[in-house]
């Protein structure tokens, strides 16, 4: 945390908030005045792009959620009929088919997120603790563990889709022929098993990120803290819970939030494994919205569901930031 305080306090010394301007000589004052517009000019390209590609489409998306935009009206979408909250009522009614699908999918996505983030964190932490010690082959393993994360996501999905292939895949060879655990080759990419395939592939892709970030956090813990604890007779487990965990808390908070958001919004892996339509057992929220929009051509409904998803994410993140993030780093 010391890195956060340093630049801020330096800036504060130079430019006390109460004073009308810096009192540090006419030259500097002139430089400051010339530069009043400079920051705005410099952030302008980024601001325009964010506005065009992120903010305006999001507002437009909210508008579309209140229209009945379908493939019939898409060519002339500005005149799609305004239907008020109909999409929300139809899409969110838990007793209707659409609404119950949606809530099941949200629940499934929450379970999926908890599993994937939890497992990725445990694997990443175990690897980081192991590789934060000195032994032969450490550098090789460190590099190897990062490969799944560096691999383009579609390549990762292609490999796993082949491995889980019913007829030609490695997994069925291993389970049926080599280990004899099963008598018949199961189908993995359809039916109930698809959910677990999704979890495995997602963890394979994500855990190296947790490892990378947690290892960096562990390396910043001073060695002598552990040595002092060891002299006091603390066990390995005690040192982990008493020193490691509190010290990586700030890093942890960010890693879990980022991984949680990525995983909850996951679209690529199910889309690449299952195509346009996910099996029922594995239908996450983003693919569900895609299906309503681009398979059933009901854009208004898809947009209404996206708005709901966004609201849910904002609330969840706000609660998380309040509860978990350390007070000093979330705001000033």
């Amino acid at each position: 945390m010391s890195t956060t305080e340093e630049p801020r306090s330096r800036a504060a010394e130079e430019d006390p908030p109460g004073a009308a301007g810096p009192a540090s000589g006419p030259r500097r004052r002139r430089l400051r005045r010339q530069g009043v517009l400079l920051p705005y000019g410099m952030v302008l390209p980024a601001a325009v792009l964010e506005l065009l590609i992120h903010i305006i489409p999001m507002i437009l998306g909210i508008y579309i959620a209140f229209t009945s935009l379908t493939q019939l009206t898409i060519r002339n979408w500005t005149s799609a009929p305004f239907v008020g909250v109909e999409n929300f009522v139809r899409g969110l009614d838990p007793s209707g088919a659409l609404g119950s699908d949606l809530f099941q999918s949200l629940f499934r996505t929450a379970v999926y997120t908890a599993l994937v983030v939890g497992l990725s964190w445990v694997l990443g932490m175990a690897a980081a603790v192991s590789l934060n010690t000195k032994f032969r082959g450490r550098g090789v393993l460190r590099t190897l563990f990062l490969v799944p994360y560096a691999l383009p996501v579609y390549v990762a999905a292609i490999i796993w889709a082949f491995m889980f292939n019913h007829r030609d895949g490695m997994i069925n060879r291993l389970l049926v022929q080599d280990l004899g655990l099963l008598d018949d080759r199961p189908f993995w990419l359809i039916g109930e098993n698809a959910f677990w395939v999704l979890v495995v592939v997602s963890v394979w892709r994500l855990w190296p990120f947790a490892f990378l970030m947690l290892l960096a956090a562990l390396q910043s813990i001073p060695e002598d803290m552990y040595e002092a604890a060891a002299i006091d007779g603390a066990s390995t487990w005690k040192r982990f819970t008493g020193i490691t965990m509190p010290m990586v808390r700030p890093a942890n908070a960010v890693v879990l939030l980022v991984m949680g958001l990525w995983t909850f919004n996951e679209f690529n892996i199910p889309f690449l494994l299952f195509g346009d339509t996910s099996p029922d057992s594995a239908r996450l929220i983003s693919p569900l919205i895609y299906e309503h929009s681009f398979v059933n051509w009901n854009f208004g409904l898809g947009a209404a569901m996206s708005v709901l998803l966004l609201v849910a994410l904002i609330i969840a993140s706000a609660v998380y930031v309040r509860m978990v993030l350390p007070k000093g780093s979330s705001n000033d």
Binding site: P45, L52, S317
Partner: protein, 279 residues
């Protein structure tokens, strides 16, 4: 740190399990890419019946792989370069200057990172269609539309990371140059950028990987001419069959440069992400 026998066992088991988990798919990737087609069909074999590099030859003619590769390179490299320029410009005032709306700007940019892509896929597509009619520039199915989209995707994290790097550079460096009469921008280009080179390189690789691996928007914003690798590779699958050996040979070929680049800069990537994280 003293290592107890218990810890050594924990480390041994953890690393063995994770190595197997990581290597298995990579082994399948490599071994399948050098198998003849008849060896890929039917029961999976751990060792190829015979090793052939024919898939690496045939993959270019089965689908227009070279064109998809070119498309991906054009889109990704252009988006990366532009993202770097825009991000450097935006990150510098965030790290160094005081201005009204700074906090609003940085919070807005960062929060766009958490929007689900699916939320603005359709609106963006509709805006592009509308923009084509108004401006007469082709945005859907063209490089241009994909480039500005990917460029914007890379911005939040790039700005965040670069601002962290810039903050870590002592302010005296550019102030000295400015007192000698150099402008802010001059000081940024001549003093700050060279010092921040490792960080900039890491951000470039991050932006490259983001664009190189994108699937969702590529599936909607490209056509047969401008299709990128993430969509083009699907064509190894026909109605009835998939040419797994060629598909995996192509996958390995296009992954290697990204993996190497990532490995070279990963240290800087981590320091940048964590510098941004505690800001």
């Amino acid at each position: 740190m003293t290592e107890t026998p218990g810890f050594r066992w924990f480390r041994r088991i953890t690393l063995t399990v994770l190595t197997v988990f990581t290597v298995m798919p990579l082994y399948v990737l490599v071994v399948t890419s050098v198998k003849p087609l008849e060896n890929v069909r039917g029961l999976f074999t751990w060792v190829p019946d015979r090793i052939t590099f024919q898939p690496y030859v045939d993959m270019w003619s089965t689908i227009p792989l070279a064109r998809y590769l070119t498309n991906s390179l054009i889109v990704t490299i252009t988006a990366t370069i532009l993202a770097l320029i825009v991000a450097v410009l935006a990150a510098y005032p965030l790290a160094r200057l005081r201005f009204r709306g700074k906090r609003l700007f940085s919070m807005t940019v960062l929060s766009t990172q958490m929007f689900p892509g699916i939320l603005f896929l359709l609106p963006l597509f509709l805006m592009f269609v509308q923009g084509e009619e108004l401006l007469g520039i082709q945005l859907t199915g063209s490089y241009f539309g994909l480039i500005i989209t990917y460029l914007t995707f890379a911005l939040p994290f790039s700005i965040w990371m670069l601002a962290g790097y810039f903050q870590a550079i002592p302010e005296g460096l550019e102030e000295a140059a400015m007192i000698d009469g150099t402008s802010r921008i001059g000081a940024l280009v001549r003093i700050i950028l060279p010092v921040a080179r490792p960080g900039i390189l890491a951000v470039a690789v991050f932006a490259f990987i983001t664009a190189w691996g994108e699937v969702l928007f590529a599936s909607v914003l490209t056509d047969t001419e401008t299709r990128t690798l993430s969509i083009g590779l699907k064509l190894y699958t026909s109605q009835t069959d998939t040419l797994w050996n060629e598909l995996l040979a192509a996958s390995l070929t296009i992954s290697l440069p990204v993996i190497v680049a990532f490995m070279l800069v990963q240290r800087h990537l981590v320091s940048g992400l964590s510098a941004g994280a505690v800001k």
